[in-house]
């Protein structure tokens, strides 16, 4: 059992309250992703779970045991850092074996586990190299390998892919997805900025904003039924169109839910972004912000065209003046 239960968790740095009354239930074996704008407290929450930061209030349970006062080394967790944090003076093999050596595991068992992890991550040829002799992607895999060898109950990742280039990021993302399949018992908590990572990897996403949980849900729930304006604007790329009314309420409509060509509304195409498979048209509809419309390649309008458009009413998201969902 490795479920994580967070109850009324608070975290202060001096006088600044960085996490405010966080409540979360993460099931055993679940893959949960924290997203949110920079500085909202994602890393801090992850570090609180890991035990690298002491929590200022509330309770944290891992596997049914309150771990508020349990040091990081005794929580049965593994963590992959954004900077990899590989030990520079140890070879890849020593890096991966380090935790088991600390536990005084038998040599043969260490060897088997390291070899196993190395095979899983295609690191076998590099076992005797030092971190400085590896590429960024290889270092990242060693960091993951080091965590796998520990056979943790809980696997924590803090933006593990952000130092990789786009192609490598996609490849490593797939590897992490495979890793998740191969470790169905292990609970994984993952911090990212990247929408695609969040949507593709997560069982559930936790959206954080200024130290609070905005919404928790499956990627589909968050995308289809954002509970607040903040989540509506944060999840999805390009952003949901949010049209403010006089009375302070807001109407939201996703760019792909708008159909050009016919309908009661009209707008002038201000500019067009061509992305290959599809393109974004930005319509001037007499509001402060342009209306983004996502079109397939064949239907791309020309700049300057005045077009009519429509959207199905059941795809509309409505928010009250406080920014909470009403429909």
């Amino acid at each position: 059992m490795s479920d994580i239960k967070v109850t009324n968790l608070r975290k202060n740095f001096g006088a600044v309250e960085v996490l405010k009354d966080i409540n979360l239930d993460i099931r055993s074996g679940e893959f949960v992703i924290f997203v949110g704008p920079s500085g909202c407290g994602k890393s801090t929450l992850l570090r609180c779970i890991s035990g690298l930061e002491r929590i200022s209030g509330g309770a944290l349970e891992i596997g049914g045991r309150v771990v508020n006062n349990v040091p990081a080394s005794k929580r049965g967790i593994a963590m992959v850092f954004q900077s990899y944090a590989l030990y520079p003076h140890m070879s890849v093999r020593e890096n991966m074996a380090y935790s088991m050596k600390l536990r005084r595991a038998p040599k043969t068992e260490i060897e088997v586990r390291v070899a196993d992890a190395a095979r899983k991550l295609q690191l076998a040829p590099y076992l005797d190299r030092y971190p400085r002799e590896l590429s960024g992607g290889q270092r990242q895999r060693v960091a993951i390998g080091r965590a796998i060898v520990r056979d943790p109950q809980v696997f924590l990742f803090d933006e593990p892919l952000s130092n990789l280039d786009a192609a490598l990021r996609v490849a490593t993302r797939l590897e992490i997805a495979r890793l998740k399949e191969s470790l169905p018992q292990t609970t994984m908590v993952y911090v990212t900025h990247d929408q695609v990572e969040a949507m593709t990897l997560a069982d559930r996403i936790v959206v954080l904003n200024a130290g609070r949980v905005e919404q928790v849900g499956t990627p589909e729930e968050l995308y289809e039924r954002p509970q607040s304006l903040f989540v509506a604007g944060f999840i999805g790329s390009p952003k949901m169109n949010l049209l403010k009314a006089e009375d302070g309420t807001t109407t939201g409509i996703r760019p792909e839910d708008i159909n050009l060509g016919s309908g009661p509304h009209r707008g002038k195409v201000a500019y067009v972004e061509y992305l290959g498979a599809d393109s974004y048209a930005f319509l001037d509809i007499g509001q402060d912000e342009l209306l983004t419309v996502r079109q397939t390649r064949s239907e791309t309008p020309q700049v300057g065209d005045v077009v009519s458009y429509d959207y199905p009413v059941e795809r509309v998201h409505r928010f009250d003046a406080q920014g909470m969902r009403v429909n």
């Binding site: 890991s50 035990g51 690298l52 040091p71 990081a72 080394s73 967790i77 593994a78 963590m79 850092f81 900077s83 990899y84 944090a85 590989l86 030990y87 520079p88 003076h89 380090y98 935790s99 600390l102 536990r103 971190p131 400085r132 270092r139 080091r146 520990r150």
Partner: protein, 275 residues
């Protein structure tokens, strides 16, 4: 490479060689004089026509010199070891922990370096005399420690600061304690700096003259720099013997440097920590 930068390179080379010669010439001269018969020492030529090891035989035959050599070795070794043993935890605490007054303590340690050594000489001598510890190697050891520790602490603090905290955090998550992380991760990474600090403390103590002069008068606790002074014997004075003494004083510094060359140069160009 264009003309101008080539010219600059040549000028820089010449200046470097000139400065090196200026610094090295007296040392080379001391070494050469120590293996020349006394009669040849005042000749202009740097190349010795006759070579003799009499001066060294002479100096190592003197009981007082051997005692001084032993004393200097004892004091230097203890100072080096204690400097390292004290400076590591002190620097680690200043670098890694937050506590009330930490920065002020750090400042105080640094502030001791703002006073010239001679300014604290008198108080130190008075304190040690009134403790009845004049003429002891213990007193000398403690004063030498006090002399070198502040710089040692700040040097090591700089190196520990440069080791990313995440490395220790990774080690803690892997199952070590904070202290374990220090021993297994941080210390191995700053080993060159530790060697440098130990060497620095030894060399500092080994060559220290003024405090020794002020604290020590009896022959059996004299250190080498003091013994060298007694070689200027008005009745049987030999430049050759004095020069041989100089070589003996310079030798450990050179030997230490050669021994730890890789570590020291590695310490000066410490990269390779990040990632």
């Amino acid at each position: 490479m264009n003309e101008e930068s080539r010219l600059r390179g040549i000028v820089l080379d010449v200046v470097t060689i000139a400065v090196l010669a200026l610094v090295l010439l007296p040392i080379i001269w001391v070494f050469i004089a120590s293996i020349r018969p006394d009669a040849d020492i005042m000749t202009r030529s740097l190349i010795p026509a006759r070579i003799t090891f009499d001066h060294f035989a002479n100096i190592f035959a003197r009981a007082d010199f051997l005692v001084a050599l032993r004393n200097s070795l004892i004091v230097g070794a203890i100072v080096a070891i204690c400097t390292v043993l004290i400076a590591i935890p002190a620097a680690y605490s200043l670098s890694r922990f937050t506590y009330l007054g930490r920065d002020f303590i750090g400042f105080l340690i640094l502030a001791t370096q703002m006073l010239p050594a001679v300014a604290v000489l008198v108080p130190i001598v008075v304190i040690i005399r009134s403790l009845g510890m004049a003429n002891t190697l213990t007193a000398l050891t403690f004063t030498h420690l006090a002399l070198g520790l502040p710089i040692a602490v700040w040097m090591l603090k700089g190196y520990i600061d440069a080791v990313p905290r995440e490395l220790e955090e990774a080690s803690i998550i892997d199952g070590s304690s904070q202290i374990g992380a220090m021993f297994r991760i941080t210390l191995p990474l700053i080993r060159p700096a530790v060697v440098a600090v130990g060497t620095f403390a030894f060399v500092l103590s080994w060559g220290e003259f003024i405090l020794a002069l002020a604290l020590i008068t009896s022959a059996e606790v004299k250190t080498l720099p003091l013994a060298l002074q007694t070689l200027f014997d008005p009745y049987s004075f030999s430049w050759g013997v004095v020069m041989a003494g100089g070589v003996v004083i310079a030798a450990p510094t050179i030997v230490l440097f050669l021994l730890f060359r890789n570590q020291l140069v590695g310490g000066l160009t410490a990269g390779g920590i990040k990632g």
